[in-house]
Each structure stands twice: as structure tokens, then as C-alpha cells.
């Protein structure tokens, strides 16, 4: 008897049929992976199951009984929990407070915190979800916050856990942890729906795989019956190159030069502790590191969002150390921010308005302070076509685009500007394999056109397949440099987690020296 069953779910938005008679079922103790291109309708389907959206037609059954789910509250009562990619936690509250929020034990409006903490601890021990019940959410890492979300769902009695792209913001170590947790949940008889674009994850964790395209289910398979290549083909409908081939780089003059830069973070602690490097035209330089080792502050200082406390940053011959974001854009720097919702997009703006953000003062978007809606719409349509952004029109609010298509808007805007230097932080976060292939090709094309690319990514695969040169950042310093073919994932991981110690001269003299890590570094 399926635990959760969706029958013939149909959901239309203006101009889009997001779900077209989609059916799926979820057995007890099963992990179903939902796979599909950006905009295929995965999030919509799960939002229907969780009561965030109401289907136009179709039926939802829980334990073989037809149910109506009109709000998340009802979904929770039926044992359905969902963890969104953007967490919905209250930052200043503690873990326990967040978990019991809305379901506080106690009477007469007085919360029994002892009981609450006790129950949180029980659940967290039972499923191996270790977390400090008294920590404040804002002090936790992303991975930990996600764990709190999962705990919250379990506390509320979830039997079905829906995870919408849970790994997009996690480091590889955190992904491994998450998988372990999900498996232990399933062993306890729970079930999970797992949305992801990372095919190796699908193969690793799913019992069954459902592939969606254009709002409909186009196939079902199991990890035993297919591999990543086969999955990619099912999703996109063609063969996808998972690792792009690129020619050798021809290093021209230095485009970006960073010299002994120190940068403070929001709490005025030194996050970047004297970094020097340069990127030349025709080169992709990747900065690899575990999240929170100073790469965010480094990027912000280069693109004019944060002033370095000392050091200099030069673009070609221009000193941009003290440039603001506008000056930086005008000097020829493009920036794909790591968080599209926070820095990349104005969600309330439509797609066309977002496409010109940063270029909104200059032709074709505007002249002498007057905007040109026709020219803007035309530009937007061109970007939509070039970057395969799936949307009914250029006037759709960014808010209403699927996650991956939002990312494509940011990428299209920043690469479309044709900058001298492209600073790309997590450029393919949330993109499907086809779109990743496309964006990678674009980045390589920029490089081949003699532009400089600075790539910051937590995805080792991405770093390895794109970079001509890799710098490993650890605790605000460059601890290692790899030149193209010298690197492999394990060696990289070793240095990223501090294996090389935090001392490494950043004067560039000994950059070619490659130390051999103790284990399994080279095959």
C-alpha cells in the first residue's frame, strides 16, 4: 500500500502547464528521486503535495485514502514534511525553539522547554542527527540549518520527507552526512522524495527514479537499470556531455591582479588574510575551498561590494581597490553572485527588468535617464532564446520562474554583458545537466575569446572540469596551487580541509611545487 500517492495532478500557471496529469506513488521505506530539467515541474508537484499550491485537478491519497491538502498545516497533520532549499527558520531563535515553533508542548500558553528540549534530543539521537539544541540558528552552518529543518519535520511527525534540492548548498562532506541521515530515516520506515540535479547523487541514494519533462512524467527507472549518462539522456532528450572538453589555455596579459589583499567580514574579523594572485586573459582560475574560508569576502572585494582593509586590486592597468560595484561593472567586471535570491535578482521585478540590472543606465536599456521598454524587451527575448530560459514571456516575474531558470537569468545577464573579467560564484547552482553543459561552454567561450574568468565553486567536479589553474583557499589564505591536470578531487579535498597546513607563501614563487598528500592523491 503506497504511503503517498499523487494521481493525475494538473496545475497550470498563466502561460504554463507546470504539471500535466502527473502521477507518482511512494511506498513505505522508499526513496524516490525526482529528476528533470529546469522548469519541468518538480517543485510544483511537491508544493502541491505539501499544500503550498492547490492542484487544478487530480487526487492525493495518503495510506490509500483520498485527502485534500490545502495548506502545509494539513500536510503536516497527514505526516508530510518538506525541507525547502531556502530554509524557513527564525534566525535569532534557538534550535529547540525553531523545532517546536507552532507545536509547543506545555499548557496555558506557557512553553515547557524542558520537555521540548528532551524530545528534540530524543529525535536527534534516534536518527543520528546531531545538533546542539541550544545553539542559535544564525550561528549554524547551512548544513546544520538543514538538519534543523529535517528535525523539525520529524518532530512534527513526518512520515514522508520531501527534500527540494537539499544538496545544492551543501559541501561534499555535508552531502555525505545528509545521505547517511536520509538512509537511517528510511531504515526506520520513513519515506523520502529527493529532488536534485546531480545525477551521481540520484544513483547513490534513490530506490526509484522518476524523470519529468515539460510538466509530465516521461520515464521511470532504478539506479540498477541505468547510469548517469542514461539519466541525462532521459531528462534532456539528447546526449549530454557531462565533462566538457576544452583546449589548452593561452595566457595573455594579466587582467586581474590581486596583491596582498586583506578583507574583513561582517563581524570585522579578518576573513581574507593576505591573498595574492593574478588571472590572465584567456584563463579560468578557480578558487576551491570549503564554504566560509574567505572566498565570499574575497569575491566581494573584487567586485566592489566590500573594501579591502589593505592590499591592491588591479583590473588591467586600472586600480579598482576602492571601486564600488558600479565602477566595477563599468570597468568591465561581471559578477554571478553565489546567492541568486539575495544578490542576483530582484524577485519582484519581471525577467526583462532583471536582465538589465547593472546595465540599466546605458544603451540599449536607457539613455539620458529614460528607459527604453521596447529595446529592453528585445534584449530580454534574445537572452531568453540564447540561454534557453523557460518562461512564457519576458514579463514573468522572476519570483515565478523555476529555481534553475532564475539562475539562468543571472548567468545570461552577466555573461551576456561580455565583460573583461567574469567573477562566477557557484554559476551552475540549481541548473540541470543540460544547462550546466551550456553554461560551461559559455564560460569556456569567454576564456577562448581572451577574457579572464575567476571561478569560485564548492563543486569539485566543476572546478576540475573548467579550471586552467586552481587555488585552494583555507582560512583566508591560499594554501595550494594546482595547474590544470595536476589536480584530482581527493588531493583537492585534502588541501581544502586544511591538510596542507595554513602556511603557504602567497608570493607566487613556489607555486609550481606540488606536495604529495599522504593518501590516495595520485592514481
Amino acid at each position: 500500500m503506497p504511503l503517498l500517492e499523487l494521481r493525475e495532478i494538473t496545475k497550470a500557471f498563466p502561460g504554463v502547464l507546470a504539471n500535466d496529469r502527473v502521477s507518482m506513488r511512494l511506498e513505505r521505506g522508499e526513496i524516490v528521486a525526482l529528476l528533470g530539467e529546469n522548469g519541468a515541474g518538480k517543485s510544483t508537484l511537491m508544493n502541491v503535495a505539501y499544500g503550498l499550491l492547490t492542484a487544478d485537478s487530480g487526487e492525493i491519497r495518503v495510506d490509500d485514502q483520498p485527502v485534500k491538502i490545502k495548506s502545509p498545516r494539513q500536510a503536516i497533520d497527514l505526516g508530510i514534511g518538506m525541507v525547502h532549499q531556502h530554509f524557513m527558520l527564525v534566525e535569532p531563535l534557538t534550535v529547540t525553539e525553531n523545532i517546536v515553533l507552532g507545536r509547543e508542548p506545555g499548557r496555558y500558553g506557557i512553553i515547557d522547554f524542558a520537555t521540548a528540549r528532551q524530545r528534540v534530543r530524543e529525535i536527534s539521537e534516534r536518527y543520528g542527527l546531531k545538533v546542539d539544541p541550544d545553539a542559535k540558528i544564525m550561528d549554524l552552518s547551512v548544513g546544520m540549518q538543514q538538519r534543523v529543518e529535517i528535525l523539525k519535520a520529524l518532530y512534527q511527525g513526518a512520515r514522508v520527507l520531501i527534500l527540494d534540492e537539499p544538496t545544492a548548498v551543501l559541501t561534499p562532506q555535508e552531502v555525505t552526512e545528509l545521505f547517511r541521515v536520509v538512509r537511517s530515516l528510511v531504515d526506520e520506515g520513513l519515506s523520502a522524495v529527493f529532488i536534485t540535479h546531480k545525477l551521481e547523487e540520484v544513483v547513490a541514494i534513490a530506490d526509484r527514479i522518476l524523470v519529468m519533462r515539460d510538466g509530465a512524467v516521461v520515464g521511470e527507472t532504478t539506479p540498477g537499470d541505468t547510469d548517469e549518462i542514461g539519466l541525462a539522456r532521459m531528462m534532456v532528450g539528447r546526449d549530454v556531455v557531462l565533462r566538457i572538453e576544452k583546449g589548452a589555455s593561452t595566457c595573455g596579459e594579466a587582467v586581474l591582479t590581486v596583491a596582498d589583499v586583506h578583507v574583513l567580514d561582517d563581524r570585522s574579523l579578518e576573513a581574507v588574510k593576505g591573498i595574492s594572485f593574478s588571472v590572465c586573459g584567456g584563463e579560468i582560475l578557480a578558487i576551491a575551498g570549503v564554504d566560509g574560508n574567505g572566498q565570499r569576502e574575497l569575491v566581494e572585494s573584487i567586485v566592489g561590494l566590500r573594501r579591502p582593509s589593505s592590499g591592491t586590486i588591479t583590473l588591467k592597468d586600472k586600480d579598482i581597490t576602492r571601486a564600488n560595484a558600479r565602477a566595477s561593472i563599468e570597468a568591465g567586471v561581471s559578477h554571478i553572485p553565489e546567492d541568486r535570491h539575495r544578490r542576483g535578482l530582484v524577485l519582484e521585478f519581471d525577467l526583462a527588468e532583471n536582465i538589465i540590472l547593472g546595465d540599466h543606465r546605458t544603451p540599449p536599456a536607457a539613455k539620458n535617464g529614460i528607459m527604453h521598454p521596447k529595446a529592453i524587451a528585445e534584449l530580454a527575448r534574445k537572452r531568453i532564446a540564447d540561454y534557453d530560459i523557460r518562461t512564457p514571456s519576458e514579463h514573468v516575474h522572476a519570483d515565478n520562474l523555476s529555481g534553475g531558470n532564475q539562475q539562468k537569468v543571472v548567468v545570461a545577464r552577466e555573461i551576456g554583458r561580455d565583460p573583461d573579467l567574469l567573477v562566477a560564484a557557484q554559476p551552475t547552482r540549481g541548473l540541470d545537466v543540460g544547462a550546466i553543459e551550456f553554461v560551461h561552454k559559455q564560460i569556456i567561450r569567454e576564456r577562448d575569446a581572451g577574457k579572464a574568468v575567476l571561478l569560485v565553486s564548492l563543486e569539485l567536479e566543476e572546478v576540475l572540469s573548467l579550471a586552467d589553474r586552481i587555488l585552494v583557499i583555507y582560512e583566508g589564505q591560499i594554501v595550494k596551487e594546482f595547474v590544470d591536470a595536476d589536480a584530482d578531487a581527493e588531493t583537492l579535498g585534502y588541501y581544502m580541509t586544511g591538510g596542507g597546513g595554513s602556511k603557504f607563501a602567497s608570493d607566487g614563487s613556489n607555486v609550481q611545487a606540488i606536495e604529495t598528500p599522504p593518501t590516495g592523491g595520485n592514481e
Binding site: 524557513m88 539575495r342 530582484v346 528607459m371
Partner: protein, 375 residues
């Protein structure tokens, strides 16, 4: 390719427009219904009361003229508030800027005695806008530089402005006589009444033009509404204003200076409020005294809220509040309902607009789609 492209793109989807317009209208209807209930419980006849109110606001050309008269400063103040709200700024002190605008217009009007109207009218209007902007400038700088909240600072500046005007009209600017007020503005500095633009014969032939005290300031207000709308929609200034209001981090990343945009927004908001003060002085009282505004700057907040900060929608929203205030007197007279009841209705409108969630709930019995896109 994708299913989306085969379907005709929804041009501007009507459902969402209907919802945008529907919420404020529902708020007003609910406010009137609950206001009626309160009247009924208090022993008054709500039907008679609202009939009288309607009569007093729209029943005759003269009554409609009064509604226009009251609406004029409300449109301008509402525009100022709306422009600020679009940058996520709450210019709660519009009343102070309005006072400074009125002061500037009155003072300059008296100075410019003897000048022809085509010199003095534009100069007065310009001066009032500059005065309003200047009064907002210091709170704006404080906000941009040290993050002082504009709700506190603009409010404090309102007190300063009001006391300044009170002092000036008993002191330096006082005209001879008992009453604390300035002298009368020269005719060239007054905004003429609408009916004075037409000959007696025309008014006889078209009696609907006998709009009583309504003055040409309403055209200033309407033009301002169109200009603000155009600015927000078609200029980089408006684009940056909206971007900062929606998402300052993305705006900053896109090279927009959040601080500078804040300063500009608050000053423009102040300029519009100053203009509201000017039309009130130039069109209604023709002089300055310390009670010349009956809280238009504050009612402007409600107007902007009801209009959902859309400059064109500010016009009907201001008309509604203008009508409530113009018709209130007639209601008291004819239906014997205390005028204060009108304040309750106004408060209810504000309450329901602000509590949009409740209205949305009433309109459709389903949860608002708060889907933040995961992934």
C-alpha cells in the same frame, strides 16, 4: 520546444490585476459594512447616514467640488508617501514637509507681490517643492549615513516644522490684526477656483462646472500623479528606486548606490509633500496659519497604502478619503450621526488595507501562494 512556448503568453494576466484592485476595494466595502454595523449598534441609521454622506460628497456640483478640494492635497501627499514606500522608506513626517512647502509658498507669494501670475505661480510651486525636499534632506542624510530610521527623524522634523510655522505666524510673518496668520496672498499667487475660469454664461449652460471652492490645484495634483507614474515606470531614477525598495542587496550588486537612492527618494517624497502644502495655501486659504493642514500628510499614508503605492491609483484613493471628509459634515447635519464616525470608517479602511492577509483570506478561501521557489 517546451510546453510553455506553444501556449500563447498571457499578456498581463488579468487574474493578478483583478486581485490587486480587488483587495483595496474589498477593504473599503468591509470598512463601510463594519462602520454601518457600529452606527447601527450605536442607534443610528447607517443607510441614511451613508446616503447623506454621499449627498455631501457627490450630490451636487458644489459638493463634488468640496470633495475635489479635500482630495487635492491628499493626492500629492499620497504620491509622496507612495514614492517613498517604493524605495522601502516610510516618510511618516510628510506633514512636516507639507508645512514647509506651505510656508515657502506663502512667504514667497508675499514677496512676489506685483509679479504676473505666470512668474509667481511656477516660482511658488518650485519653492514649495524645494522646501519640502530640503526638510526631508536631513533625515535622508541621517538615514543614508548612519542608518537613523526615517520614521523617527522625519517625525521629529514634523514637530520642528509645525512649531516653526506657529511661531512665524504670531511673529515675523504675522499680518496686522488679532488673528495669528500671514497677510493675504496677492491674486497672482493664488490658484484660481475652477469655476472662475468660465464665464457666467458657460456656467449657466453647464451647471456641473459650478464646483464651488474646488481650485485648479487639482490639475497640478493630477499632472503630478502622471509624472510620478512615468518616472517610476520609464526612468532609471524610478527603476533604481524600485530596485532598492524591493531588494537592496541585489540593487547594490547591480551597481546602484543604496544610500544615494535613499536620499533621492526621501527628497522627492518631501518635494511632493511640500507641493501639497503649497496648493493648500495657494488654492484654499490664500494665506498661512498654523492650522492650515488638517493632517493631510498623515492621511496621505492611508492614501498610499490603499493605492498600494501605485501613483495612478493614488487619485481614486485620495478621492475616497476626500469624499469621506467632505461628506462627513453633511452626514452629521442630515442624519444626525457624529462626524467622528467617519474617522472610524477611515481607520477601518486603513486597518483592512494593512491587514491584507485577512482580506485575501476573505476573497479566496485558500492559502496565499507563498511558494518561495526551492531550487
Amino acid at each position: 520546444m517546451s510546453a510553455a512556448e506553444e501556449r500563447p503568453a498571457a499578456p498581463r494576466d488579468w487574474a493578478s490585476i483583478a486581485q490587486k484592485v480587488g483587495t483595496p476595494i474589498a477593504s473599503v466595502v468591509l470598512a463601510i459594512l463594519i462602520g454601518s454595523l457600529i452606527m447601527w449598534i450605536s442607534g443610528y441609521d447607517p443607510v441614511a447616514a451613508f446616503a447623506a454622506l454621499y449627498q455631501g460628497a457627490f450630490g451636487t456640483p458644489k459638493a463634488f467640488g468640496d470633495t475635489l478640494l479635500k482630495s487635492t492635497p491628499l493626492i500629492l501627499a499620497g504620491l509622496g508617501l507612495a514614492y517613498g514606500f517604493r524605495a522601502n522608506l516610510f516618510n511618516i513626517g510628510a506633514e512636516g514637509q507639507l508645512f514647509m512647502g506651505g510656508l515657502a509658498a506663502a512667504w514667497l507669494g508675499l514677496m512676489l507681490a506685483g509679479q504676473p501670475w505666470f512668474v509667481s505661480l511656477p516660482l511658488l510651486i518650485l519653492a514649495a517643492m524645494l522646501a519640502g525636499a530640503a526638510w526631508a534632506f536631513i533625515p535622508a542624510i541621517l538615514k543614508a549615513r548612519i542608518g537613523a530610521h526615517e520614521v523617527i527623524t522625519t517625525m521629529m522634523f514634523t514637530y520642528i516644522a509645525r512649531y516653526l510655522v506657529s511661531w512665524l505666524v504670531v511673529g515675523p510673518l504675522k499680518s496686522p490684526g488679532q488673528i495669528p496668520q500671514t497677510g493675504l496672498l496677492p491674486v497672482e499667487s493664488q490658484l484660481p477656483r475652477i469655476q472662475s475660469l468660465f464665464s457666467e454664461a458657460t456656467l449657466q449652460a453647464m451647471p456641473f462646472l459650478k464646483l464651488g471652492r474646488a481650485h485648479t490645484g487639482i490639475f497640478v495634483a493630477l499632472i503630478a500623479a502622471v509624472i510620478v507614474w512615468l518616472v517610476l515606470k520609464y526612468t532609471t531614477l524610478g527603476y533604481e528606486n524600485r530596485a532598492v525598495g524591493y531588494n537592496p542587496f541585489a540593487a547594490e550588486t547591480g551597481g546602484i548606490s543604496v544610500q544615494w537612492t535613499t536620499v533621492k527618494a526621501l527628497c522627492i517624497s518631501g518635494a511632493l509633500a511640500g507641493l501639497a502644502g503649497a496648493v493648500e495655501v495657494m488654492g484654499v486659504h490664500h494665506r498661512l496659519f498654523d492650522q492650515f493642514s488638517s493632517g493631510f500628510g498623515f492621511t496621505g499614508i492611508a492614501v498610499a497604502l490603499l493605492a498600494k503605492n501605485h501613483p495612478i491609483a493614488v487619485v481614486p484613493a485620495a478621492l475616497l478619503f476626500g469624499a469621506l471628509s467632505a461628506g462627513g459634515g453633511t452626514m452629521q447635519l442630515m442624519a444626525d450621526v457624529p462626524q467622528k464616525i467617519i474617522l472610524i470608517v477611515q481607520a477601518l479602511v486603513i486597518f483592512f488595507v494593512a491587514a491584507e492577509g485577512i482580506i485575501t483570506y476573505f476573497i479566496k478561501q485558500r492559502q496565499k501562494e507563498v511558494t518561495s521557489h526551492a531550487g
